[in-house]
């Protein structure tokens, strides 16, 4: 059983290696050959015509909070605190309640399938989602065909009290999910996610580090997203968040440090030495007014970097073409230096960097890698003329140019048609369910916070 893409105009093996007019062979979940391939004698089930098309590594969206899809447009352009009170906490509480009431089906499943639809359509083949209720999210991902890493979120302080209950149960749940799902199901992996030094006690941070090591999984943590967080952590610990996390042994290969907006040169050195991957979320950092991460500096210092959309409520898309383009543009403007970051660097962050962040053997189209890839239709007015395919993908291409998506060797979208989900049903149910859940959340929240 194999998929053969014939005569692809471009096979973008990586940011730095492009082959013209060539074939690519997929057998089982992996790429087995790139070159002139004669299908004779092979059990080729599917041949895809690659003419006028570019085959590219699937993007990895290395940090999301997919449940926030339900919050899009509810309170834009307001401050973070007002936003938390008006939308985030009520919805989070409703989710929490639904989860602990074991009402799984009506919870994560809907946002998981909705966001998988958007990502598969936009050339994203893997995401890392920091979230609470994972069983139903995993079920949604499995059904959709996307690859996903569940970053099982833990916090034990500062959050409003109703969201801090059940801490021991949360920890046990996180361990159960990690043990039951990690590597036991194709396309699903897990990491532990002590959400941020600001929202986690030292004891919880160490617990997460030790448990992750025991189970053999990675860690994801928000670090230095806002000045406020930096100040709070400093007041309490005498250290900045990166230094504090480093001191506790949280930063290492296998850890993803999300944001790193407000970091000093010394902290960049710590990050570079630690082997942790920094996940840059440019659009989210802009929309929330958090600031602009010193990405050009981190790249120069050799920090491994990935890209992500973050939660849809601070973005409001899960569009890695836009994140890649934003990364490539933003840091040129901020530094007033058009050479500060290249299109190729941004592309590498979204592909190889993302695969490293997610801990998956993908990110390039080299034989032996997981077959997570997409096919971009180049017959678009905005892609004419096409002088440099990688830069055209970074500076010109759009999510809507993705025609076909293959994940784990499986055809998930074929020439614009989603093969795994009933698209209309997913959209309809998510629209209905999102509104209803939010309404319930606001009501419950009002009841709890009134007294």
């Amino acid at each position: 059983m194999a998929i053969l893409i014939k005569q692809a105009s471009y096979v973008v093996r990586s940011a730095d290696r492009v082959e013209r007019d060539t074939d690519i062979l997929i057998e089982g979940p992996r790429i087995t050959a790139v070159g002139q391939i004669l299908p004779a004698g092979m059990d080729v089930l599917q041949v895809i015509d690659g003419r006028g098309r570019a085959v590219i590594p699937g993007f990895v969206n290395a940090h999301t909070h997919l449940y926030q899809n339900f919050l899009k447009g509810l309170s834009d352009d307001i401050g973070l605190v007002a936003w938390c009170n008006a939308t985030l906490y009520p919805l989070a509480y409703a989710i929490h309640q639904a989860h602990w009431g074991h009402d799984d089906e009506s919870c994560g499943y809907h946002w998981a399938t909705l966001s998988a639809l958007e990502m598969i359509r936009g050339g994203v083949t893997c995401c890392v989602d920091m979230n609470m209720n994972m069983d139903s999210v995993f079920r949604g991902w499995q059904e959709s065909g996307i690859r996903g890493v569940g970053a099982i979120a833990l916090s034990d302080r500062w959050l409003p009290a109703p969201l801090c209950r059940d801490q021991e149960a949360s920890r046990q749940d996180a361990l159960r999910l990690a043990r039951n799902w990690h590597a036991a199901h194709p396309r699903i992996e897990t990491v532990l996610a002590p959400s941020t030094p600001f929202l986690c006690s030292k004891e919880l941070l160490l617990w997460a580090r030790n448990r992750a090591e025991e189970i053999g999984i990675g860690l994801q943590i928000h670090l230095a997203e806002t000045r406020y967080e930096v100040e709070q952590v400093y007041q309490e610990t005498g250290q900045t968040p990166v230094a504090y996390a480093h001191g506790l042994g949280l930063l290492k290969s296998g850890t993803t440090a999300v944001h790193c907006v407000h970091v000093t040169d010394a902290e960049i050195d710590l990050l570079a030495e630690s082997g942790a991957t920094v996940v840059h979320c440019p659009k989210s950092n802009l929309k929330l007014g958090s600031g602009i991460a010193p990405v050009a500096k981190m790249l120069r210092r050799g920090v491994p970097m990935a890209l992500a959309a973050d939660g849809a409520a601070s973005n409001d898309l899960l569009d890695m073409f836009e994140e890649t383009r934003m990364a490539a543009l933003l840091h040129k403007g901020v530094g007033e230096d058009s050479t500060a970051i290249t299109g190729r660097q941004a592309f590498r962050m979204a592909t190889e960097g993302g695969a490293r962040a997610a801990g998956i053997d993908a990110g390039t189209l080299d034989p032996g890698k997981l077959a997570d890839l997409t096919i971009v239709n180049l017959d678009q007015p905005h892609l004419v003329p096409l002088h440099d395919i990688v830069n055209a993908l970074v500076y010109c291409a759009r999510a809507s140019d993705v025609e076909t998506t293959i994940i784990d060797g499986q055809l998930v979208m074929d020439r614009g048609e989603i093969l795994t989900l009933d698209e209309e049903k997913v959209r309809h149910e998510a629209a209905h369910f999102g509104a209803e859940m939010f309404r319930q959340g606001v009501e419950m929240w009002r009841g709890l916070t009134r007294g």
Copy 2:
């Protein structure tokens, strides 16, 4: 002869006024009614089903250099001077030669139709193009159905000598175009564009101001795009570019000042008092490393503002959804203030602000306005759930969501099908022609600059 859009889920009359489940009637080039419309007795030629759709004002791309479409991807991520020498000057020279050799057909027509295609597909109904060879551009625009303002470019110094020849002929040509085309052809208008104080003598700036006044047309000028420009103008005149232009009487209602990246508070006051529209080009300013305009400050001070993509070589798209989103996001991040600019303000810049910049009676969907509008298909996973239509258009929607485009009351794109141009032919000819023209330009340029 009329077009009736029935039961549109949303009619976004402006950033601040949205009507639900209503109709919109177009007769001749104008909108004549918004509300519950009974088509009985009317000579309705075309009824469009608006269910599941939003009808929105067409975007105005208020500053472009469309010929740069041919330069996309040729030298990304390099410095401005290197870029000018490697790509801009050779192509500009080839265009110049082609034009003065009266080889019109093979010149502006191709980039005009290619870019019109991209813009019509992306919901842009009008652009202001600063350019040299306008006859063939106008012909391309007329054929495509887009509305366009030719900003006829003039410079008389600092450019490499071969580009500065024929100054007197250029001026006469600019006057001929302004007199022959302005208001004499539907959908085509003109302004005079002394390109920048840096590239124009004082005499040329005053000549342009006086001729524009005589003919009764506007002006467009680049101002304060880079620190280098500000320093050069200051050294020579003792004034910053905005103050200098203001002193020469160039800034007034009817003038568009493009960029205004490096402006002081006092200059912002001058701009606000002058009535000129500032055209913000966020992506271009980022890609060229020019910097970030103080847009939040200009908005607070009441400066009329529009948005634009600028030349495709510094962008590399003509995508006003992306420019609007970038404007809404960027200034929140730079100012570390999530309330610095709202989605509605960005939307207004792209529509009403753009119409003001272009000097056209459009930009809202109020009865009496020109029928320049687009229909967005809301059945997209990235638009679910939809809580706020204007913010959804700003933060979530994409160029590819535009399904139908109406310009000057004419259906130009109908449910994804371009009615005015042979799309494949346009793409093919532009790809071929762009490459050939650039090859010739580089050869000619090498010959000229070698000695």
